[in-house]
Symmetry: C2
Subunit: 128 residues, 2 copies
């Protein structure tokens, strides 16, 4: 199957205290900032406190993938197809999480519920 590469330029980056992958629940519990490239700030218009937003991002620390994986790496559970899992170790390491907006301050979105680590490139934001 002929497949050309598709390239994206991130629209922003995540800032939070987690520089390495940890339990997603720990990351979700704290506030993260999404620093949006100022050239895209106008696209944030009409977002505000309490809105749910879908954050599409790149698992930038993920290396390689397996088509069959134990859910959450738990070897007591049978391996499943990667497309039934949210594992970062996937053919295209794209993450999708719905977060809640705490505040919008210029080009900075403060959110809760995001499970991406510090420095994560953000590809898109959409209504959840």
């Amino acid at each position: 199957m002929m497949m050309d590469l598709i390239s994206f330029k991130p629209i922003g980056r995540v800032v939070n205290p987690f520089s390495k992958p940890v339990d997603a629940n720990h990351i979700r519990a704290v506030e993260s900032q999404i620093i949006v490239d100022p050239s895209y700030s106008k696209g944030l218009l009409d977002l505000g406190k309490g809105d749910q937003i879908m954050v599409i991002y790149f698992f930038h620390q993920s290396k390689g993938f397996d088509l069959l994986q134990h859910p959450r790496g738990d070897k007591s559970r049978p391996r499943r197809g990667v497309f039934t899992l949210r594992s970062p170790r996937r053919p295209n390491p794209i993450g999708v999480t719905v977060a809640e907006i705490v505040a919008l301050e210029g080009n900075v979105l403060r959110v809760r519920g995001l499970d991406a680590i510090n420095g994560t490139p953000v590809l898109d934001l959409k209504p959840a």
Copy 2:
């Protein structure tokens, strides 16, 4: 803000009767096939009829973007920030839709509820 390009190789393509963008409801109403590259077939294991799946794809016919847009192109409605809309005319033209699996046949997923046109490159599949 320094932003390196991020590149993905599609995992498959959409096949359906719609070669040009039309009202999304028309596309959702028919069955689409997602032809997955056979090298990734094993990753489809455990998907089956009735499962909801999140399809992440590339709006390959979308050209350019506006940071402020009238919702659904309706000029009677005020312009909004693109990140509050699902318009394909966005900085990174990524689409996300939840579809229902009708059948899995080898490397072919038959789905309903997908609003991507024929030939759309699929980047990822995740549990909805």
